[in-house]
């Protein structure tokens, strides 16, 4: 329970100068270490004195984790690259505008200047109760305070709730899933490269984690293959206010059309479940169909099948249905303009 605010607990601050040093430090300190990227999520936890690590590994001084470079097969974005840099990068804006659109809607300009891509995808889930330090399932206890008859759960999950109904709030994550991005992770056993959707961990697998990172693991870069370069993209974020807010829901899609029909598509949503959700069933269902409002409507209905609303978030079902509909039909409409 957070009692003392704004005064962080004491910890050893370690500021490695290279990714290799950072990974070694994380390995050395194991689960006593906290990884800090831009610090926006970290300082919430630390100032509320809910997380009390013994060691804080600050990645801000590692230049090799920053920047965007074009590779033979797409682009590689360092995990410590700021969201502003990604939003303004010419190559990203030209060929992967889904990502630049997504990150340009994150929070506020100041936060995008400080926040990093690695931090945005690795931030913890949103739930009033969990973030206020209550001993819920995710915090190691044995109750979900949000999933109760009077729990405040307007922002919470309609899919994937397994004791925890918090949602993953990242705006960049669904865009990266739609772009078929690969996450590069340094581990004590060497480098691992994962598909974007495999980076995230749901509560059914491990309720105390949000991604695959274990003690000693470090997310170093995100690679976006050229497979989807220049495709038809759609990103929409719905939030309570137009700046400085987490999504109530967002949707990201990448489509390649052939003669007006959908030849290839990847579509993902966030803030509907404890981890970003790729809508594989929708992708399969719309393949070969025209990218129009009819297909979009069908896709929207399919997308919400199996949704289980809580007491106060049933609005998320029509919201998701319509966002998915627009993600498919909307691209077609954009070409008419």
């Amino acid at each position: 329970m957070a009692i003392i605010r704004d005064v962080m607990p004491a910890f050893d601050l370690l500021q490695p100068g290279s990714a290799a040093d950072a990974q070694k430090l994380l390995q050395q300190h194991g689960d006593e270490a906290w990884v800090m990227a831009g610090g926006l999520d970290s300082f919430d936890w630390l100032k509320d004195r809910i997380k009390k690590p013994k060691v804080l590994v600050d990645l801000s001084g590692i230049d090799e984790l920053k920047g965007i470079r074009t590779t033979g097969d797409g682009v590689q974005i360092g995990a410590m690259t700021t969201l502003t840099e990604i939003a303004n990068h010419p190559e990203i804006k030209k060929n992967y505008s889904l990502l630049s659109d997504a990150v340009s809607l994150v929070a506020s300009p100041q936060i995008r200047n400080q926040g990093t891509l690695g931090g945005n995808v690795s931030q913890d889930v949103r739930c009033w109760y969990y973030r206020d330090g209550w001993p819920c399932y995710r915090a190691g206890g044995n109750i979900c305070y949000a999933d109760t008859p009077v729990g405040r759960n307007r922002e919470h999950a309609i899919f994937g709730a397994d004791r925890c109904v918090a949602v993953h709030p990242s705006d960049s994550a669904p865009a990266l899933i739609a772009l078929d991005a690969k996450f590069v992770i340094q581990t004590p056993k060497g480098e691992r490269v994962l598909d974007a959707e495999d980076y995230f961990v749901g509560p059914e697998y491990d309720i105390t984690r949000i991604n695959v990172l274990e003690p000693g693991y470090l997310l170093t870069a995100i690679r976006i293959p050229s497979t989807w370069a220049g495709a038809k993209f759609y990103f929409e974020k719905v939030r309570d206010r137009n700046v400085w807010d987490f999504p109530l829901m967002n949707v990201a899609s990448a489509m390649v059309l052939s003669g007006g029909n959908i030849d290839r598509i990847r579509i993902a949503v966030s803030a509907v479940s404890p981890k970003p959700m790729r809508l594989k069933a929708v992708e399969d269902a719309v393949h070969g169909k025209p990218a129009d409002a009819t297909t979009g409507a069908m896709a929207g209905k399919l997308a919400v099948q199996g949704a289980v609303p809580l007491q106060f978030n049933a609005y998320k079902i029509p919201l998701m249905r319509n966002l998915v509909k627009r993600a498919i039909g909307g691209v077609q409409e954009a070409t008419w303009a």
């Binding site: 190691g140 109750i143 491990d206």
Partner: protein, 286 residues
């Protein structure tokens, strides 16, 4: 390093959440330790068993070659319970020691199977078998004293042979009843906290934080206790001198020689008319 983990609840009250998970290893090591000590004791120090027996030739002649011990229904219950218990232990504790998988649904389904099978067992033994045959009686207590004295080299008459179940078996059953009921009763209430696809309507408000916490602690303590108990059960199940009993739980019968060696026909009457392969003993409570 306490036995229980605690947390501060929404009302600022310190409440228990669950057991400390290192107790998993404590239970496993305790089970292993018992097995090693017992194996050394039996192999090196223990004197051969000696029972008082005086069976008349007529009694011996009346015992069939295959003595029916466990009915098909009783055996089926035992193995269903065993499978569900293994499923419960695996789904409960592997995630706690680092092997992560989607365990909650499998856990409560296995819990339902165990609960239903236990309810059936209670009904079956109460109305169709001899309910009391698995509980210690006066002769068991008297013979326990005799066996203890004799094991210490003191003078005591030889104990009688066992009834259907040896005293150790009865005591084990009593302990596992306690642990089993603890996990079942608490587990049924805990199903009010998870999504059971409509079997239970979620309602975590039926108890307060402290009661829930104690329930989780009791569930955990009984659960880790079952780790040691199951380890010991398997150990005895595969010990050479106990194999005839284990086989009887598979095939339903034991040999006449083993029966006459370990069991007293006056304390456990064999139903002679029963076909050996399918029959059951009237005192069958397992």
């Amino acid at each position: 390093m306490g036995l229980i983990t605690w947390a501060v609840g929404p009302w600022g009250r310190l409440v228990p959440t669950h057991i400390a998970w290192y107790l998993i290893w404590v239970a496993a090591i305790a089970g292993l330790f018992f097995m090693i000590v017992h194996a050394i004791y039996v192999g090196i120090f223990a004197a051969p068993k000696k029972f008082a027996k005086n069976d008349s030739p007529a009694v011996v002649a009346s015992i069939p070659e295959r003595v029916p011990r466990h009915s098909l229904v009783a055996r089926a219950f035992h193995w269903v319970m065993a499978i569900s218990m293994f499923a419960l232990l695996i789904t409960a504790f592997l995630p706690k020691v680092g092997i992560k998988f989607d365990w909650v649904t499998y856990h409560w389904i296995a819990g339902i199977v165990l609960t239903v099978s236990i309810l059936f067992h209670i009904f079956h033994t109460s109305f169709f078998l001899d309910f009391w045959s698995i509980w210690p009686d006066k002769i068991d207590i008297r013979d326990m004293k005799r066996r203890l004295l004799r094991s210490m080299g003191k003078e005591a008459p030889p104990p009688d042979r066992f009834a259907k179940y040896p005293l150790e078996n009865k005591l084990y059953h009593a302990v596992i009843v306690l642990a089993g009921l603890a996990v079942i009763i608490t587990g049924v209430f805990m199903m009010k906290r998870v999504d059971t696809y409509g079997i239970f309507t979620r309602n975590p408000y039926i108890f307060g934080d402290m009661t829930w916490g104690m329930m989780y602690v009791l569930h955990g303590l009984a659960g880790v206790g079952l780790i040691a108990l199951i380890m010991v059960h398997i150990y005895f199940g595969i010990r050479p001198e106990k194999l005839p009993i284990t086989k009887s739980m598979i095939f339903g019968y034991m040999s006449r020689d083993f029966y006459l060696e370990e069991h007293d026909p006056e304390r456990w009457a064999v139903e002679k008319s029963s076909p050996p392969q399918e029959g059951y003993a009237p005192s069958d409570a397992d």
